[in-house]
Amino acid sequence: MNHDEAKKALLLHRPGRAEERDEQIAQALEQAKRDPELRRWFEQTSRFHEALAEKLQQIPVPADLKEAILAQRRIVRPIWWQQPVWLAAAAVIVILLSLSAFWFQQPRIRDHFSDYRVRMVRVASRKYRMDLATNNLNAVQQFMARRGAPADFVLARGLEQLHLTGGVVSNWRGNPVSMVCFDRGDKQMVFLFVVARTAIKDAPPQSAEVAKINKLLTSGWSDGDKTYLLAGPEDSAVLRRGQ
C-alpha cells in the first residue's frame, strides 16, 4: 500500500467505528505509524471531522417545531378516536385549562390563515408537478375527489374566463388542498387553493381578505365548509374582484 492508497483508506475512517476491522484501514493505520507525514495528515483530518461534526450538532432547532409536528399528528389521527369519550372530555378540559394558564408561554403553532396563505404562495412559487394536466374542470374535480381533496368547489368570478391548465393535490397540516391552475395567456398563472374550512384555525369570513405575499397578490374567503385562496400577479383583475 503506497502513501496515496493509505490516504484514500484513512480519509473515510472514523476512529472507534467498526471500519477499523476493515483490512485496508488496518494496513493504512499501520502505515501511518511508520510514516510521520501520513500520521500528521491523518490526525489533522480526524480533528477536522470532529470539529465539523461538532459544529453541525450545534445547529439550533426552532422552538415550535416539535409542537407543530405533534399538532399535525393530532389532525391525522385524533387521540379521542382511541379513547373512551369521558376520558377525551377530561383531556380536553385539562388541555383548555393548561392553555389558558400558559397561553403566552406556548410557542405559536403555525395553523393560522396567514400561515396557510404564506405556505400556499410558496407552493405556487416553487416548481411543482401538475398531478393532472387538463383544461376540463370536471376532470379536475373528479380527480380531486378521488384523491380525497375538496372537489365540489365553486370557481371565483372571472376564473372561468382564464385557461384552465390542471390541478395539483397539495397538503396543509395533514389536510388535502386542491390547487387549480389557470393560465392568464401572458405566461402568468393564477392559482385557486381550496381546503376544508375546519383545517384553518381562523378561516377568513365570507368577504374577501386581500394581502400581498411576496410577489403574489392573494385573496382569501370562506364559503360553506370550504376556505378559498386565490393567488396571482398583482395586476390580476380576478383577484381584485374577490370571490
Binding site: K55, L56, V61, V76
Partner: protein, 175 residues
C-alpha cells in the same frame, strides 16, 4: 406498528436530528421545518407498513431525503466519481479553521458543495451512520456513498482553504 410506537416518543427521539439533516439539504429554516413535518406526516400514514422496529430511524431519514428529492424534482443524472480521483485534491486544512466558524457558517460552506455530495456528507457528520446505513437511506451502493463522501469532504476542505486564504488576503495591511 404505528400503534406500537408512541408517536410523541418517536418525535422526541428524532425530530432534532431530522431537522438538522433537512436544514443541511435546504439551508432554509422554513423549508427544513416543512420537510421534517412532512416526514412525520408520512410516518403517521404509512409507518405501520414498516415491520422492523429497529429500522424506524433509517426509515425516517430515507423518507425525509426522498421528500427532499421530490421537491427538487431533479432531472439530471448524477455523475459517479471514483475514490481514486480524490486524494490528490485534498488540501491541508487546519481543523482550527472550522473551530472559528459557527454552525450557520459551516452550513453555508456545505451549501457550496456540489448538491449530490451534500446529503452523504451531512449524514456522515450529523449522525455518524455506518456507510451501509447511509447507502440504505440514500438508496445508492456503498461504494458510491464512499466516493461521494470523499469528494464532498475534498470540496468542503477546498472551499474552506480558499475562504481562509481570501480572509487572510483581506486582512493584509496595506503598504
Amino acid at each position: 406498528m404505528t400503534d406500537e410506537l408512541d408517536f410523541e416518543g418517536l418525535v422526541n427521539l428524532h425530530y432534532v436530528s431530522l431537522y438538522r439533516f433537512a436544514l443541511s439539504l435546504t439551508r432554509k429554516e422554513s423549508d427544513a421545518c416543512d420537510l421534517t413535518q412532512q416526514t412525520f406526516y408520512v410516518w403517521a400514514n404509512k409507518g405501520h407498513q414498516l415491520r422492523d422496529v429497529s429500522k424506524v430511524k433509517s426509515w425516517l431519514f430515507t423518507t425525509l431525503h426522498r421528500e427532499f428529492l421530490e421537491t427538487q424534482r431533479r432531472k439530471t443524472r448524477f455523475p459517479h466519481y471514483e475514490l481514486e480521483e480524490v486524494t490528490h485534491e485534498l488540501p491541508n486544512v487546519e481543523p482550527e479553521l472550522v473551530n472559528r466558524l459557527d454552525s450557520s457558517a459551516v452550513l453555508s460552506l456545505l451549501a457550496q458543495v456540489d448538491p449530490i455530495f451534500q446529503a452523504p456528507v451531512a449524514l456522515f457528520y450529523l449522525e455518524e451512520y455506518p456507510y451501509k446505513e447511509i447507502a440504505e437511506i440514500l438508496t445508492i451502493p456503498m461504494g458510491t456513498v464512499k466516493s461521494r463522501i470523499a469528494r464532498g469532504i475534498a470540496q468542503l476542505q477546498a472551499i474552506l482553504a480558499k475562504t481562509a486564504e481570501t480572509t487572510r488576503g483581506l486582512r493584509k495591511p496595506t503598504a
